[in-house]
């Protein structure tokens, strides 16, 4: 706050012109670390702890969309930052485009020791360090859902569920479940398969009341089934109290989508040593365990989960047994316009 007040004072005194000029081309000192990520997604205490341990200042700036990070990187503004948060779906094109520094993973021993390699897969291993993850799965209210049980995606298009579903939006969230339901690759690039998935989704669409704000609609009782992120489910469960009637659909065979938020180092990052230290720091079991108290999301850090509070470990939104039956969103290359086209058709109706 001191910083803010000082700035405010400068403003009042009419010195702000100087402040503006001063912040123009100052080259960052060795003691600064610039991170571009989502707002309200990392603990202030964690940042303060890192600043104290390394005698540095961490500058956080925030993106409003995943595409922002990609824009910055591809436009060439990546080197302004030392670490950028993005998600697994973009990794392939970022690596192929040469936008990222290759990491020396020997400098992040905590990550090597603690992260589950099922999420830190070989193809992205040398270019990123995973932070937190989110599953997109199906949750229903046992009291109001017309079906007794939902065990696969095909249950979602049953006519009984007409007007019951709240869903996350986006072509690359919706089409994969249709493709899985039809027995295809969730990242299919085959146009016939995508067209078939579109037909499936038109039926799904008929059952959906609203896209977005799923947890709000669930809490208010507007829907009885939601296709949503695990984090949003945690809030809904929290809001509906201890004995809430929400259950995570006991899927038997269909895999669920897992998205991983991860840190990458843009090409030409200026404070690489400090960035390595930061990546290693957040992978420390205790540090991440403390962070999970404030941000109770799924986490790829096995040691941190082990060290986490019972409250986190027993969090009902993360208590389902098909956590490793997952698929990732992959780069679909030239098929992306096809997806977009069918997605538009779906939206227009």
């Amino acid at each position: 706050m001191k910083k803010a007040m000082a700035k405010g004072l400068a403003l009042l005194m009419g010195l702000s012109v100087l402040a503006g000029a001063a912040s123009l081309p100052v080259y960052a000192e060795e003691t600064e670390l610039n991170i571009y990520m989502w707002g309200d997604y990392i603990s202030d205490d964690l940042i303060a702890g890192f600043e104290e341990a390394n005698g540095c200042k961490v500058n956080l700036s925030f993106m409003s969309d995943n595409a922002d990070a990609i824009n910055k990187l591809t436009a060439g503004a990546g080197s302004d930052y030392d670490l950028i948060m993005t998600c697994d779906a973009y990794m392939e094109s970022l690596i192929n485009g040469g936008y990222l520094e290759e990491l020396d993973t020997s400098k992040v021993p905590n990550a090597e020791a603690n992260l589950n390699k099922a999420y830190w897969t070989d193809d992205i291993h040398n270019y990123c360090v995973p932070y937190l993850m989110n599953y997109i799965y199906v949750v229903y209210n046992t009291e109001t859902c017309p079906l007794d049980e939902i065990t696969c995606y095909n249950d979602l298009i049953k006519p009984e569920l007409a007007g019951q579903i709240g869903s996350v939006d986006g072509a690359r969230n919706l089409f994969p479940i249709a493709l899985v339901a039809l027995g295809y690759d969730p990242n299919s690039t085959n146009e016939d398969e995508i067209a078939e998935a579109y037909e499936w989704l038109t039926k799904y669409n008929e059952n959906v009341v609203a896209y977005g704000s799923t947890e709000q609609n669930m809490v208010s009782g507007a829907i009885s089934v939601m296709f949503t992120y695990d984090g949003n489910t945690a809030w809904a469960m929290d809001q509906m109290g201890e004995d809430n009637p929400l259950v995570i659909a006991p899927f038997t065979e269909d895999p669920v989508q897992l998205g991983i938020d991860l840190y990458v180092m843009p090409k030409g990052a200026q404070h690489q040593e400090l960035a390595y230290k930061f990546l290693d720091y957040i992978c420390d079991a205790e540090v991440m365990a403390a962070n999970l108290v404030e941000f109770p999301y799924s986490c790829p850090n096995d040691a941190a989960i082990e060290a986490a509070s019972d409250e986190y470990k027993n969090g009902p939104a993360f208590d389902f047994d098909y956590k490793t039956n997952i698929f990732f969103q992959e780069d679909v290359g030239d098929a992306l316009p096809v997806y977009d086209q069918y997605y538009q058709m779906l939206k227009v109706g």
């Binding site: 803010a4 702000s16 503006g20 912040s23 123009l24 080259y27 925030f62 436009a75 302004d80």
Partner: protein, 285 residues
């Protein structure tokens, strides 16, 4: 009163009632979201899904200044907005007067080009500027955001001020110089006061445009700090907490208070002028 007249009066009343109803409906539509936002700033819930009970806790949290991210972003936004307003208004005054009063060869062209930043979608301007800044090697930061904001504030300021200058001003200026004032005195004591309402609108417009801008602020932001609108959009991913509502409520209160103070001052000034019986034509806002 004849039958016909009575009918006419009734019809008029009915129409007036409809007009009032229409106005009430319109204003309700405008302000319901704002009202809901303000009400939810008193909501005793971690996430603003449903009403859980009354609390002033979010204001307590806000004014304990523990959430430095939010305040830093607000201060950053305010500094940029004030600077953008000052720069745009000054250039707007000079540009507006220049384009209205003087004849020169490229006048038509400049007059037309001034609308380009207004017409061109902001995202296009933002991307173009991002590319230029990167090519030239300017580091992103407050300076680049400020330049970005000025590019769309200046045209609005020029257009607003230009529209305010009328033939009357010229007569007054000639009179002033006839009475022995030089050009600078005339500019400061006659021209500026006579277009003051235009200058004020231009300033308010620039400030508003700058403080709630997302596109430019997002594209041209540097590594050290985000503006408030960008931060709020980013928070929206995981759900906004009550302190954002509290902060925006405080901003609304400040703006409404500012408007009231402004109109109060204006009333005082016009009263004083009336008392003094000034011969100068009085400006109405």
């Amino acid at each position: 009163m004849t039958e016909q007249n009575l009918k006419r009066v009734r019809k008029k009343r009915r129409l007036a009632f409809l007009a009032d109803l229409y106005a009430v409906l319109m204003y309700t539509l405008f302000y319901i979201p704002v009202a809901v936002m303000i009400v939810f700033s008193f909501n005793d819930a971690k996430r603003n899904y449903s009403w859980e009970g009354f609390t002033t806790g979010w204001y307590g949290k806000l004014f304990s200044f523990s959430n430095t991210t939010l305040w830093d972003a607000l201060v950053y936004s305010l500094i940029i907005a004030v600077l953008a307003t000052v720069i745009s208004t000054v250039i707007g005054v000079l540009g507006g007067i220049g384009l209205k009063k003087f004849e020169f060869r490229t006048k038509k062209f400049i007059n037309m080009m001034i609308y380009v930043p207004i017409i061109v979608p902001e995202i296009v301007l933002a991307v173009a500027m991002l590319i230029i800044f990167i090519t030239v090697g300017i580091k992103m930061g407050m300076g680049t955001i400020l330049i970005g904001h000025c590019t769309f504030c200046i045209p609005y300021a020029v257009v607003t001020i230009k529209g305010r200058i009328s033939g009357d001003n010229e007569t007054l200026e000639e009179a002033s110089m006839d009475l022995g004032a030089n050009r600078i005195q005339t500019f400061v004591r006659v021209t500026i006061p006579s277009i003051m309402p235009g200058i004020m609108s231009a300033a308010f417009l620039s400030f508003t445009l700058s403080i709630d801008d997302v596109v430019m602020s997002n594209m041209l932001a540097g590594a050290s700090q985000s503006t408030l609108p960008v931060l709020i959009l980013s928070l929206n991913r995981t759900g906004l907490s009550g302190d954002v509502n509290a902060l925006t409520t405080v901003m609304i209160v400040c703006m409404v208070a500012g408007l009231l103070v402004q109109s109060l001052i204006r009333r005082l000034i016009s009263k004083r002028r009336a008392k003094e019986g000034a011969l100068l034509p009085q400006e109405e806002g």
